[in-house]
Symmetry: C2
Subunit: 431 residues, 2 copies
């Protein structure tokens, strides 16, 4: 039984996917049953590093999603449109869909999965989060028997590369970003990566799988890394931390369905398993009861790694079709069964530790004032350290115990008004 | 649709499994379709920390594998018999089987999978390797689209705990083993762990999934950690290595089906991702083309973690039964499809780096002699360091480049005969 595949898009991941499909030797035997039928591109004339079967290339993407010889449509266009329209058309035509597109799933997941459930087809998205790391299927199929309490991810390779370079060379954000752009690790417009949007798309997807409820993408609290300075990285290091852009989904109270969802730069204790994930690598840590903690680590991007995830989804569909030629009823471990929206708690209710750096004019007085202000707002301090001098100002770093974000913010508003405080260059959360 | 479960064994993992099955709230909704029907034990009178439904406990294990109300038999007895006989009886009665028993699968896998394929039932074993870490399914279902080149595992928690303690406290093997036995991390008879047999069982299973061929358990080359001394750990550290008991399955030549399979203590470079896996934690690193490297990390043992893996298999079967009430044809991604045996290369053909420690009487002469001897057998050296003095002997450590094991062994036989060499306290391989 041959299963026909149609690719939408033949960029780096598309080319990597085609390469695997066209060289099945030494791979999973099910790949022998897969035939790459069409690859839809914008231009037929563009030079390509791959030999495709004759007649495979086409600019008619609509024809691919309707082609009766194609059972699985693989969407690798990225972005919202025409990806959304083509995915919905493929579903309407009874095709299974494999996609690497986190943005379209994070934003239109409800529409897409409702249509897929109605049509009785699968929409698989292993490549959408964590590149080559198998995380979607383990989370959906294996770890879900636990009561998941928390998912923590370094799931954006660009920002992890930038933060790693900043830490290793003491360089500032702008410098390293420019270099990353030169190397192709960051895009010309880096906003989606450095402002945290890409990580927010991905944690919305992971949270919906881990906690079994739909997530509105706009509910994810999101801070990027533009304001991180070499100074903060160096102070954090002295205190025993590294700074990472973390995406965190958490159920603070196991008795309630409410979640906390957030993306922000975070001070991570040096001996935490996720602290040593450097460069463009990704890692996802899942905590649950009774499991404890497991971590998945690997290349978060790149043609080969992402293609590996895409093809694992294709093979999954082939395995299902193989054992069950007509899919009567979707396997609930692979389909999307939840239809309610999870309740998302506002960031104000977060309980976390904070790191704040102050520039102050009058050291002896100000430490007392800081202590008093924080104390009045139930913010208890773990450490207050004068970490350096800048011009004629003392540089003070405060790390709190676990406190309510709302209390901390109120205390900070009061502190910013103090005569002795010249500036608060940074406020960061601590894992 | 309710799926009946029968447990064979109610030790720590069995109790952990029952606890998950009896408290489905907040876990994967499919657990709501699972009913724990019977739990087979040796004695009904033993006090237990769990409230089971009335009539659930029984000492009649044969009745469980025949019970028409049970669709999934969960074997948690461990050991070879009666586990093998009961698994085969369950299969013969058309039950799906979930097992955490690496020994029975490593030794009788062929017999068990042949019977399962004939009967059209699944035998799932996520819990057999890596405790709570999802590794079996990702390897079988996702990573297999790559050409896998190597699987490296720290897959025995007891030995990793012992080596970590030795490294952290400079203690010797015997001391730490005694302490581990007191804490329950090592058994009264620790042979299966410390001599590498448990890791060999597990790497045989991983290799068969990663490379798609059956493995004869006795083909796994196996060295344990009894001979590792505090001295070697300390010398290794000075050279930038930690010592870990690694289980390695490797296809040295992608053009050939032949594998290298081995368990032995290994010097691991400090910055390798697997070097920082400490204590009772496990990690499995998989390398493939075009994926690159992914690593899975988590608790390798313990009631909760292992139960999480067991129940993930149960839910898998439930998902399949749910979508396809009568299983017509096994899904090749979950069944065992390969029937040929992989060719295993003898350890002599291994190409690796070596570390060797010598006690020598006559330093100036001996370094020349060592160099000459190794050179004559095509063993090129990366470093020769006099690392200390012991009594009136110089202690010399040699690290080679990648060499053929056979050549190295021949050189060593000659070197051991040298007048100046008093003793060769250790020979270890280097990753």
């Amino acid at each position: 039984m041959a299963i026909g595949i149609g690719l939408l898009g033949l960029g780096t991941v598309g080319t990597g996917t085609a390469e695997i499909l066209l060289s099945p030797q030494g791979r999973h035997p099910l790949l022998g049953e897969v035939v790459l039928k069409r690859a839809g591109v914008r231009s037929l004339d563009k030079p390509r590093n791959i030999d495709l079967p004759a007649g495979c290339l086409t600019t008619d993407l609509e024809a691919i999603v309707k082609d009766p010889e194609i059972q699985v449509v693989v969407e690798l266009l990225g972005g919202l449109e025409p990806a959304r329209t083509l995915i919905l058309a493929a579903i309407a035509n009874g095709k299974h869909v494999v996609t690497a597109n986190k943005a379209v799933i994070a934003k239109y997941g409800e529409e897409i999965y409702t249509a897929a459930n109605k049509a009785g087809v699968y929409v698989l998205l292993e490549a959408a989060v964590g590149g080559g790391i198998p995380i979607i299927k383990p989370l959906k199929q294996s770890l879900g028997v636990n009561r998941i309490t928390r998912v923590i991810g370094i799931i954006n390779g660009t920002t992890n590369y930038i933060l790693t370079q900043m830490a290793q060379h003491g360089a500032d954000f702008g410098e390293v970003l420019a270099e990353a752009q030169k190397l192709g690790y960051a895009e010309a417009d880096p906003s989606a990566d450095v402002d945290g949007g890409d990580a927010a798309d991905k944690i919305a997807i992971l949270a919906s799988l881990a906690f079994g409820g739909r997530i509105r993408r706009e509910d994810v609290y999101c801070e990027g890394i533009r304001s991180i300075s070499a100074a903060d990285i160096s102070f954090a290091k002295k205190l025993g931390f590294v700074i990472k852009l973390l995406a965190i989904a958490e159920r603070p109270d196991l008795e309630e369905d409410a979640l906390q969802l957030r993306v922000h730069p975070t001070l991570v204790p040096k001996d935490h398993p996720i602290a040593s994930v450097n460069g463009v690598f990704n890692a996802i840590l899942v905590e649950g009861e009774p499991l404890g903690q497991v971590m998945f680590y690997g290349p978060g991007a790149g043609a080969g790694a992402t293609a590996s995830a895409v093809v694992s989804d294709i093979v999954h569909v082939v395995g299902l079709l193989h054992s069950d030629q007509v899919i009567q009823k979707l396997n609930p471990l692979l389909g999307c069964t939840h239809e309610h929206y999870s309740k998302i708690l506002p960031i104000d209710t977060l309980k976390t530790r904070f790191y704040a750096r102050f520039l102050s004019r009058d050291l002896p007085g100000v430490i007392g004032d800081l202590g008093t202000c924080f104390g009045q707002h139930q913010v208890s301090l773990e450490s207050v350290v004068q970490i350096g001098l800048q011009d004629d100002c003392a540089e003070i770093v405060v790390v709190t115990h676990d406190v309510h974000e709302a209390n901390f913010r109120e205390a900070m508003r009061e502190i910013e008004g103090l005569e002795a405080i010249k500036e608060v260059p940074s406020i960061l959360r601590v894992l």
